[in-house]
Symmetry: C2
Subunit: 418 residues, 2 copies
């Protein structure tokens, strides 16, 4: 196992538990030891940001974004090894963070250092490593605004990726956006259900409202699909997915065009609903309150503000609405230089076509980078994980060989970008 | 205050706390002391039944059904007086059970005893006093089956009643039925909501199913209204209700024909619903389970078994259904002899027309009495409570004068029935 990676993995950087400073110091010292100008910046988040730079006097600059914090390890009794004592077994490395995201970070960083030493680095590199990604990157928008001059760059290499379901390298060009709301209907007090013929029932009101939001899989919010940028045939052609593997992962059937749907379709999901008596047995009550939590996943070029306005317009009188989250979607063009460089370098590294996904089905703060840093060249590639990596779960692992391959991919990418 | 009532009220008979035997003994002794053949019967319920009889050799027999148990007094700090130390103030008597149901029981019992002494009793009287009504009358169906010969009668006087919202005496001729079910939809496991475009969401499935059950106020279950016996104009004419008083009680607007709706309309009520994340803030999850608790209140001549069958037929594949309760509706004809006797005796007692309600909007085990005792003459009248009696709540009370009036009403009723 790589000695530097090993040391980095032994440091507990569980941001949810307030840990991370030690890992940040290790990282910034490591960078300085290898002749990178680097600095810890204590901004508003609990863990410091690391900003660094190697300027080789090139025309082009790549910003490498990664995170050094990890998810909590619990339940600890499900781990076969100590999560902070990296262990090799059967060609794999087991440790918390080895797949998400310390492995990718270190493979990229080492490659850049090596190429700089060899005078082979023909592109300037900037670094932004954060320590609060696993708790939702709070203050990222503010941080980018405060440091946008220092982070100016031509390309951004996003934080993760690795091998997709069929073993091919995966390149992700964007993220979905999010609107998370809670909607409530109330009356003054709970009532005996004998009054049902003459009184309001907030649970029924909410059911009726929710029903009006969807028909089959279609979201009925006025204008919801107006701005959606549907995928073209070229984009669809590049995506591959293993239906059987996906069905095993989700423990249910999925449609045959599941990859297209995952990437392309915006959603309206009930994440939680509650009203009235939910204990054992029966209670005949008309509840005085009912609420639902809904997440809308949005695709380019939807805007959470526009969706929110549309929702407010159809909200029945007396319903309350609370917004818990708003993130804009983002997608880099497959014709961008970074996409091309990622695709070509992946193909040369792996000897096979990469799986190019226009956007993740999940959400991330990519749009902040694009907007605030004024940069449309942002994509996710050069990672060490695979579908069996157990990210966020116990027994997190990577295939040891993938660490070596990721460094090769990084080297080729840097060459393509120069 | 009546001495016997006072003593009876001092005995704690909170069935939910396992109390009642002492009250039962007091009552059976009281009855025996006044020359009523009476017996404690320890059946399957925690508190004994009291069965008694005064046979005056008449052609007709009235069964008087009441309960001697009471609801828990908590919260005790909201009472202005000791709930088991009956207190007179401003023309009212305050005590737990004075309105529900010890006051009615004692007023009826004393009147029967007095009339027997005076040789004025021209109808045989049987008594059934139970001690577990406040915990749902468990085993009542079995008890009636086991003792149906001893309870044979021509009329049944149900347990409660009193003054309605406008001060007029209230006569209730029946109860609604009930079907209480819990319906669940499941998948194997919770999923990240990014998979929403390709996976099932049990919460959405349940919302869609619930929506199919109702349109406006109409229940869409096939055949739901087929057997409903709608009220006729005569029945509607006799019902009166104070709209303003009802709106104050429920803290919301009610329709102008609220009394008719309460009595006549069967309902489908969401009593509880739950799925997914319901804590503070946001969690983007596709829940693996969703359930709803529904009570259907049924009117004559609906049958909970028929409604259940209809529900099962439209239940989507994979949904689970659990039945928590089934009670049949029941309604005595307004043309029955007991209804006529109650109406006439109430009019003479109060000098005003009674409020005659074809059935309560609530549910009770009246149908057992009708079916097992083979008796269609069952109605609720001659009570001591009023809309301000705080039944089941703190500071339960009756108007002292109403106790004297109830005895007068009982006397006239017994005369009419003979």
């Amino acid at each position: 196992m790589d000695k530097d990676l090993y040391e980095f993995l032994t440091i507990d950087t569980t941001s949810a538990k307030g840990k991370g400073v030690e890992g940040a110091k290790y990282l910034v010292d490591y960078m300085k030891d290898h002749n990178i100008e680097a600095e810890l910046i204590q901004h508003k988040a609990i863990n410091p940001y690391i900003v660094g730079e190697i300027n080789v006097g090139a025309n082009m600059t790549l910003l490498v974004y990664n995170h050094y914090d990890v998810q909590p390890v619990e339940p600890l009794n499900k781990w076969n090894t100590d999560p902070f004592k990296p262990t090799e077994k059967d060609g794999k490395i087991y440790a918390r963070g080895v797949a998400d995201d310390k492995g990718s970070l270190m493979a990229r960083l080492q490659t850049i250092i090596e190429m700089a030493k060899e005078k082979e680095l023909k592109v300037n590199v900037k670094f932004l490593f954060e320590g609060v990604e696993e708790i939702g990157s709070p203050y990222m928008e503010e941080f980018l605004k405060d440091y946008k001059d220092r982070l100016k760059s031509d390309f951004v290499l996003w934080e993760g990726s690795g091998r997709g379901p069929d073993g091919a390298p995966e390149i992700v060009l964007g993220v979905k956006g999010l609107l998370y709301v809670e909607i409530t209907s109330n009356t003054e007090k709970d009532l005996h259900s004998m009054y049902a013929p003459i009184t309001r029932n907030p649970a029924w009101e909410l059911v009726k409202f929710l029903n009006s939001l969807k028909e089959g899989n279609k979201v009925k919010l006025p204008g919801f699909y107006d701005n959606v940028k549907w995928l073209n045939d070229d984009e669809i052609k590049l995506m591959r997915g293993d239906k059987k593997g996906m069905e095993e992962a989700l423990a249910q059937e999925v449609p045959s065009d599941f990859m297209r749907k995952l990437v392309e379709e915006p959603t309206c999901n009930i994440a939680g609903i509650q009203s009235g008596y939910t204990g054992e047995g029966s209670k005949t009550v008309i509840p005085s309150s009912a609420f639902v939590k809904i997440d809308f996943r949005l695709v380019p070029n939807q805007d959470p503000e526009v969706v929110l306005d549309s929702l407010k317009k159809i909200l029945p009188n007396g319903f309350q609405l609370k917004v818990w989250g708003k993130v804009k979607p983002y997608r880099t063009s497959i014709k961008s230089r970074i996409a091309k460089a990622l695709i070509e370098s992946a193909r040369e590294t792996y000897g096979q076509d990469p799986n190019v996904i226009p956007n993740s089905p999940g959400t991330g703060p990519m749009e902040y980078f694009a907007r605030i840093l004024n940069n449309n060249e942002i994509a996710d590639g050069v990672g060490v994980d695979n579908v069996g990596s157990n990210i966020h779960s116990f027994n997190e692992s990577i295939i040891e060989e993938d660490y070596r391959i990721a460094k090769k991919w990084m080297r080729l990418l840097l060459q393509k970008l120069s």
